[in-house]
């Protein structure tokens, strides 16, 4: 990674040196635009590939400023151990927490509003222990902190959302890639059902529009899709190792639609086949046009 950073800066510096001084502002702008749209890293160590993906986007400092309160939102939805790929990989979560602190974050909050019993999902997923060891404040959701918020979106007028996610300086979305009955797949946008209160099951009636609405309100600074293991059947809960495939991959990007669009390809789907990606693209929440993106692929 450092090699890449070095080459990048060397090229930019070399170009700048070879240009007349009047072009300097243009060069600076080029340099700022340099980070790729998506970084996809493959390698054996979940911690290593997570770190490389964030570095590839320009480092955590780009998303987390000194003293910031950061919410890291993994999927801790189900009472399953990590090898079943129903929850975000605990090493990926812990690494992101560490990166936030290295960037100067004051507080890193980790939580989810799971479907199954939270005590079991937090414990059995390995996430509570791993994130707490990395220094995060791991808390169960506090029902009092769901506040009805105006959304005025495609499907949702208003919905109770978790204030900590809305008030944070930065929200980092940490979904895992899984199949899902009603939405096809559950990736980044679907992961934000975990900041919703109330009777969430109702949003299944217009799931794609609802997910786009909620993502627009939460405004994630960064999405890191965990595909160390993916769940290819009986999702989102799984329970059989036969449905788990090991890809040893994470994909990171700023555009939530783009990350999900890429996630669809991991399952052999076209981005437009995934409803929330299509709707998110049409609603200009982001882009699903992977062909036009600068996707950096790294193998560790």
């Amino acid at each position: 990674m450092h090699r890449r950073t070095f080459i990048k800066s060397a090229v930019v510096a070399g170009a700048a040196l070879s240009l007349p001084t009047g072009f300097a502002p243009l060069v600076r702008r080029l340099e700022a635009a340099a980070p790729p749209d998506l970084v996809v890293v493959r390698g054996a160590s979940p911690a290593g590939i997570t770190r490389a993906a964030v570095d590839g986007l320009g480092g955590m400092r780009r998303f987390v400023s000194r003293g910031a309160v950061v919410v890291v939102k993994p999927n801790i939805g189900w009472d399953r151990t990590p090898e079943y790929a129903a929850n975000t990989n605990p090493e990926v979560v812990a690494t992101v927490v560490r990166l936030c602190f290295e960037a100067g974050a004051r507080t890193v909050k980790v939580f989810d509003h799971p479907v199954a019993d939270a005590r079991r999902t937090y414990k059995q997923s390995g996430i509570a222990d791993a994130a707490a060891a990395a220094g995060a404040a791991v808390r169960f959701v506090d029902e009092r902190k769901f506040k009805d918020m105006r959304i005025d979106g495609l499907a949702l007028k208003s919905w109770p959302l978790y204030t900590e996610a809305i008030e944070a300086d930065a929200v980092i979305n940490l979904p895992i890639a899984k199949t899902h009955g009603i939405s096809g797949l559950t990736l980044g946008m679907k992961n934000f059902m975990g900041v919703m209160g109330g009777w969430r099951g109702r949003i299944h009636q217009r799931i794609d529009e609802s997910l786009v609405d909620v993502t627009r309100v939460v405004k994630p600074a960064l999405t890191i899709l965990d595909a160390v293991r993916i769940l290819t059947g009986n999702g989102p809960q799984g329970g059989s190792l036969a449905d788990v495939r090991r890809l040893d991959t994470v994909a990171a990007g700023v555009d939530p639609v783009a990350v999900d669009a890429f996630g669809a390809t991991l399952f052999g789907m076209k981005p437009a086949e995934l409803g929330c990606v299509r709707v998110g693209h049409q609603a200009r929440l982001g882009s699903m046009d992977l062909g036009r993106m600068n996707i950096q692929r790294i193998r560790l």
């Binding site: 009472d79 005590r119 937090y122 009092r144 009603i182 099951g201 109702r202 299944h204 009986n234 059989s240």
Partner: protein, 514 residues
């Protein structure tokens, strides 16, 4: 001596309450501490269950300890250990005015209850848990007292949280967090009949205002059993010649032991509190291992014994003649916890202590009223609309003191069916209203989902074709956990419900030919 006894009582009460509060999941598979140890030490639970089931596959060690202790020292369990007895002492301290100098002569009632319970147990009707003091206490705390305390605490802190300035809220939230970690449950427990069970408990405590330890003197069948056992206890009481019959001991006696009767001291009624020793102005009373004289055995009289035996006998057909016991006529809502043994055997074992309800993750285990017949009152039943059965949780079997719910490994539990889910197409959104949903499919926890869907084309009223996913239940995979019913967005009467047909513990209550 009083101080030492109070200290011991306090230690055991705290130990009991500590274990009670620990009877809660922290997310791991095992609870890891002996939460049911008090019930394991309860000879009444042991005896009624052993009689009703005609088997001895029950924990034996602590019962033996209590039996030996009682045979040696008398009813020290009542006077020094029993947490309900200690609560009676505390409630009795609220009584104003003088204690009656001569307690009512109703101490035989508890022996009659005991005899009736034993006789009905002998004829397989297990009613011991209804009146057993430990089962009664755990049940009342689980179902009523703890939820009420939690409600009151939360209401208080929520009020502060909602309307006080930030500084105050910081302090109160810190305190609240502390309470949440130590004393409060993870979520507000809510139980059917909490008012009824709590009311009975309050009434039993209130009896202390009539007479301290009213329950222990006149009602407690465990006390009666220990009274029988203490008849030849080595610890004995002697009264020297110095006694002038002043009656000071009578006012301090915690039992109905008749301490001033030199020749008529009722040994079986003595709680070994030793208050009479402390109170005696002439220091004439002594407890020791020298054999005293003049103790009398409880005198019930033949009529009372015969009456109690008859009551115990008659209770069996009285409680059993219900159509609910016939296959196919059982209450379809009567879903028993996973690992529950077949219904007949279950009713013989369950002592209605409520530990399974206390420990249930989702609050889904609730006390029955009539669903299991009068015989099964306050036994556990899963109400999915209140809380489903978490797929990998096995806590109810871990805390059951009598094996009514077997202890399962997570692998075993995956193969246990407590009922079957069925869809009501008249209410289900994709069937009846052409709307997407299949929340039931999403939450179905079996590795290969028991709920699958079919993509169907339906027409709306304008004739436009819509594509919806309609759920189906695979009856060979469904385990009846009820998460589909719990999470179904059709509130009130959900569009998918679980009933007991197909439960693996029953040979007859089946649906599929297999």
């Amino acid at each position: 001596m009083t101080l030492l006894r109070r200290l011991t009582q306090g230690v055991f009460l705290l130990l009991f309450l500590g274990l009670f509060l620990q009877t809660e999941s922290r997310g791991a598979n095992d609870l890891g501490y002996p939460v049911k140890i008090f019930l394991d030490a309860d000879p009444l639970v042991f005896l009624t269950t052993a009689l009703a089931t005609r088997s001895l596959d029950l924990p034996l060690f602590w019962v033996c300890v209590v039996v030996v202790l009682t045979a040696l020292l008398g009813r020290v369990f009542c006077g020094w250990i029993c947490p309900l007895g200690t609560l009676h002492n505390l409630a009795g301290a609220l009584k104003r005015g003088p204690v009656r100098s001569r307690p009512a002569n109703g101490y035989h009632w508890k022996y009659q209850f005991l005899i009736a319970l034993m006789v009905s147990s002998l004829f397989t009707l297990q009613f011991g848990g209804i009146m057993d003091p430990l089962a009664l206490l755990i049940r009342s705390l689980s179902v009523s007292v703890h939820p009420a305390l939690q409600y009151a605490t939360a209401a208080g802190f929520d009020a502060i949280y909602a309307s006080f300035p930030a500084g105050v809220v910081d302090v109160s939230e810190w305190l609240y967090g502390l309470l949440k970690r130590g004393v409060l449950a993870f979520q507000q427990p809510l139980f059917l009949q909490s008012a009824l069970i709590g009311g009975i408990f309050a009434a039993i405590l209130a009896l202390n205002l009539k007479e301290p330890r009213f329950w222990c003197k006149y009602l407690c069948p465990l006390g009666a059993l220990l009274g029988f056992l203490s008849r030849y206890a080595l610890l004995d009481r002697t009264v020297s010649e110095g006694c002038d019959g002043c009656g000071a001991c009578v006012r301090t006696c915690q039992g109905a032991a008749h301490p001033d009767g030199k020749e008529t001291w009722r040994k079986a009624e003595c709680l070994a509190c030793m208050n009479c020793d402390d109170a005696c102005p002439r220091n004439a009373v002594r407890f020791g291992f020298r054999r005293g004289k003049g103790a009398v055995a409880p005198d019930l009289g033949k009529r009372r014994v015969v009456g109690s035996v008859l009551a115990g006998l008659l209770a069996v057909p009285l409680f059993r003649t219900t159509p609910r016991s016939r296959t196919g006529a059982a209450d379809p809502q009567l879903l028993r916890p996973p690992g529950a043994v077949a219904e007949k055997e279950f009713l013989r074992r369950c002592v209605k202590c409520g530990e399974c309800m206390k420990v249930c993750l989702t609050n889904g285990l609730q006390p029955t009223l009539w669903e299991a017949g009068a015989e099964g009152i306050w036994s556990p039943m899963l109400v999915p609309r209140i809380g489903y059965c978490e797929y990998r949780c096995t806590l109810c079997g871990q805390v059951c003191p009598t094996g009514a719910i077997r202890r399962l490994s997570p692998e075993e539990k995956a193969g246990v069916r407590i009922g079957l889910a069925m869809i009501d197409p008249g209410r289900c959104l994709p069937y009846a209203h052409g709307r997407s949903c299949i929340v039931c499919e999403e939450v179905c926890p079996t590795p290969k989902k028991a709920i699958w869907f079919e993509t169907a084309a339906v027409k709306d009223r304008d004739g436009r074709t819509l594509s919806v996913k309609q759920p189906h239940v695979d009856l060979s995979l469904c385990i009846g956990c009820g998460i589909c019913e719990a999470k179904c967005p059709v509130l009130g009467r959900p569009a998918i419900t679980v009933s007991s047909v197909g439960e693996s513990r029953s040979k007859d209550n089946q649906l599929l030919l297999s």
